[in-house]
């Protein structure tokens, strides 16, 4: 019998496994575990230097035209998931967990390491304001945040965003800014007083990207390759998992799709199927940690209870995509030495929305230029000219809203085994962001509500809230503050299913710290017994 069984190898599962192994417990991790086919050699050096020298079809489009899967597709995938090298991340999702969705664009992963293989690298601590409605506080997570910061290697700094992003302990220096972000940030520094009156704060993000070498991993080389291949300076939980497996700190069993469990007085049976043979398989453990993602963890729970009626809440951050033009950069050469994921963060204490919003600002240098061609309004040839002369003067921003700003989506299990998700449309009132645009104009960056794109519900992939943590859970499908599922003795929820709220902040880092906190509690309970 295993002491602990963890289901899933995404950020939450790996963080829980790390805590168990740090405390001398060797967990069994059950996972479908789709792996990357390592058939293409990595490209060395800068993206644009490579493109100038070689046919980049295999790198950018893919032999099976993977990059073009969004053309004419009514449900386009997030751009990062269409890169040819990450096809394995979402492979077989519809086979292993079919979803009938209305008004929701669900994205799932059955890969080793989960969706974090293609994450946007932002790792933020929830502070006490963010944790309103949670049955624990920032202080309860602090030691786990610190451990993870050392394990991962996070860059950032003490600036105007520190009150929102928390402790700067163990952070590496921030990444260097490219041309447009540097211009915007300089202007913000000059007009700080006005910005503060408006509740507008700009600063460096907290990203799991090395700015200095760490544990044999090199620092960021500003090669613009972030979308196109795995880079050793961008952390993914897979790195920790591989280390734990190599050091025999965990037992990793891939090829298992967990479907349900049943409890006995002396332990718990976890039941699933072997993905290669479709034969049933089961494992026995003392404790079960579910970390299969908010959608699939909920599915396992509903299937165990054979419940085909209950509709669980499913949260996601409503999001806007906003392009900005910096007119003074018009005609500037393209910055080919840049980092193409989040490079600046915005915090807006928004009066019109009566809440705090977070924006992640990106340089548009890593994507294909063709990705923007279809979004420009001019004739084809004129659009090409704009790609050359206007695009290097642009920044992109994703503006995240708290899930509470609109009605949540719902999730249920159908008798045919499919998940049904009823989504809610993105109903953000664009007239309320005019003030934000006015302020950006003061900083030399122009945009207009007509250029804003509402991200379809589910696209943000910040799923949460299906099995919320409560101070005193009173009904089925709720958990106690340490993740124990109501009515169960040995089943714990360690992923974002347990988040009762979703503030406008990327949840990955807090989810990992919370998984460690839950693992810590489970160890204490095991020791007491």
């Amino acid at each position: 019998m295993h002491t602990v069984i963890i289901v899933g190898s995404g950020p939450a599962g790996v963080a829980a496994a790390l805590e168990f192994s740090n405390q001398g417990v060797k967990p069994l991790i059950l996972d479908v575990g789709n792996a990357k086919k390592n058939n293409s050699p990595g490209v060395e050096g800068n993206l644009y230097a490579y493109r100038k020298q070689y046919d980049s079809f295999n790198l950018l489009i893919g032999k099976k035209f993977q990059r073009l899967s969004n053309l004419g597709n009514e449900k386009p995938a997030p751009l990062k998931l269409t890169a040819p090298n990450v096809g394995y991340v979402t492979k077989d999702a519809q086979r292993f967990s079919p979803i009938d969705e209305t008004g929701f664009n669900a994205i799932q992963s059955f890969a080793t390491g989960g969706l974090a293989n293609a994450w946007s690298a932002g790792l933020y601590r929830y502070n006490d304001h963010d944790l309103e409605g949670f049955p624990f506080q920032e202080g309860d997570l602090a030691p786990y945040f610190d451990t993870l910061t050392q394990e991962i290697g996070i860059s950032g700094t003490d600036d105007d965003l520190t009150p929102y992003f928390g402790s700067t302990k163990f952070l590496q220096p921030p990444l260097k800014l490219a041309h447009n972000s540097k211009k915007l940030y300089r202007c913000y520094q000059r007009k700080k007083a006005v910005s503060r009156r408006f509740g507008f704060y700009l600063g460096h993000p907290r990203v799991c990207v090395l700015s200095e070498a760490k544990d044999g991993r090199p620092p960021c080389d500003y090669s613009n390759m972030e979308f196109w291949q795995d880079l050793p300076y961008i952390y993914t939980p897979l790195m920790t998992l591989e280390k734990l497996i190599d050091n025999e700190k965990v037992v990793y069993r891939k090829g298992v799709l967990v479907e349900s469990w049943f409890e006995e007085p002396e332990g718990i049976w976890v039941e699933g199927i072997q993905t290669d043979t479709n034969q049933p398989i089961r494992f026995k453990g003392k404790k079960l940690i579910l970390a299969a993602g908010a959608i699939n963890t909920a599915k396992i729970v509903l299937k165990t209870y054979q419940d085909y009626h209950t509709k669980l809440t499913l949260l996601d951050n409503p999001t806007l995509q906003i392009p900005f033009i910096i007119p003074s950069s018009l005609g500037h050469r393209l910055e080919i030495d840049a980092f193409g994921l989040v490079i600046l963060n915005l915090i807006w204490e928004s009066t019109p929305f009566n809440c705090i919003l977070q924006g992640t600002i990106l340089e548009l240098t890593s994507l294909m230029r063709a990705d923007f061609f279809g979004n420009l309004p001019f004739s084809a040839n004129a659009n090409l000219a704009l790609i050359r002369y206007l695009l290097p003067a642009m920044l992109g921003m994703q503006l995240f809203f708290p899930a509470s700003i609109q009605k949540p989506s719902s999730l249920s299990l159908l008798e045919n085994g499919h998940i049904h998700i009823q989504g809610q449309p993105n109903t953000i009132d664009l007239s309320k962001i005019k003030g934000l645009f006015r302020h950006f104009r003061r900083l030399g960056a122009w945009s207009h509500p007509l250029l804003v794109m509402k991200v379809p519900t589910g696209h943000t992939i910040h799923y949460a809230g299906t099995l919320p943590l409560r101070s005193s859970p009173e009904k089925k499908y709720e958990c106690n503050p340490f993740g124990r599922l109501y009515g169960s003795h040995n089943v714990f929820i360690a992923d974002s299913s347990g988040f009762p709220m979703l503030p406008a902040k990327n949840m990955s880092f807090t989810m990992m710290a919370n998984a460690m906190r839950i693992a810590d509690y489970v160890i204490r309970e095991l020791k007491e017994k």
Binding site: Y48, R51, K52, Q53, Y54, D55, S56, F57, L60, I61, F65, R67, L68, L71, G72, S328, L330, G331, H332, R333, L334, I336, M368, R369, A370, F373, G374, P377, F378, S379, A380, N381, A382, N383, L384, A385, L386, I387, R388, Y389, L390, P392, A393
Partner: protein, 144 residues
């Protein structure tokens, strides 16, 4: 317009299509590798339309020389979305060739050059839109 007179096989039509779109974008003849990739990648786009729609589409492609004008007009009138998709497809494919980098990447900073190109782009679009709307009225029976 009677499209039945356009009988050549699909492959020939696709080659004509690739050449016209590439020339509209880059004023050059299509490199063989791009033509092949374009034809191969078109398969998945064609799955979304009926055989009749495809025949009408190729009839139009064969007749019209100024595809840039037709495309921008179709985009604004929300007609024949396949043509817009084919332009986007061609841009994706063309961007992967080293010799095309100059069309996508500006290597020299010049505000005046940038401002001029942006202004010319606007004027060009207005001209192409007018021309495209005229083409649409001529071809209204084939384009929906």
């Amino acid at each position: 317009m009677d499209t039945r007179k356009f009988a050549p096989n699909l492959r020939t039509l696709q080659e004509i299509e690739a050449d016209k779109i590439y020339r509209s974008l880059f004023y050059q003849s299509t490199p063989d590798v791009i033509r092949e990739r374009f034809i191969e990648a078109s398969v998945q786009l064609h799955q979304k339309i009926s055989t009749k729609e495809r025949a009408l589409y190729y009839g139009v492609i064969k007749t019209v020389d100024d595809l840039e004008a037709l495309e921008v007009a179709c985009r604004y009138r929300k007609k024949m979305p396949l043509l817009t998709l084919k332009f986007r497809l061609m841009v994706f494919l063309a961007e992967t060739l080293p010799e095309n980098q100059r069309f996508f990447v500006n290597e020299r900073t010049s505000f005046i050059r940038g401002a001029c190109f942006t202004a010319v782009s606007l004027l060009r679009t207005i001209y192409k839109l007018c021309r495209g709307f005229y083409l649409l009225t001529r071809l209204h029976a084939c384009i929906r």
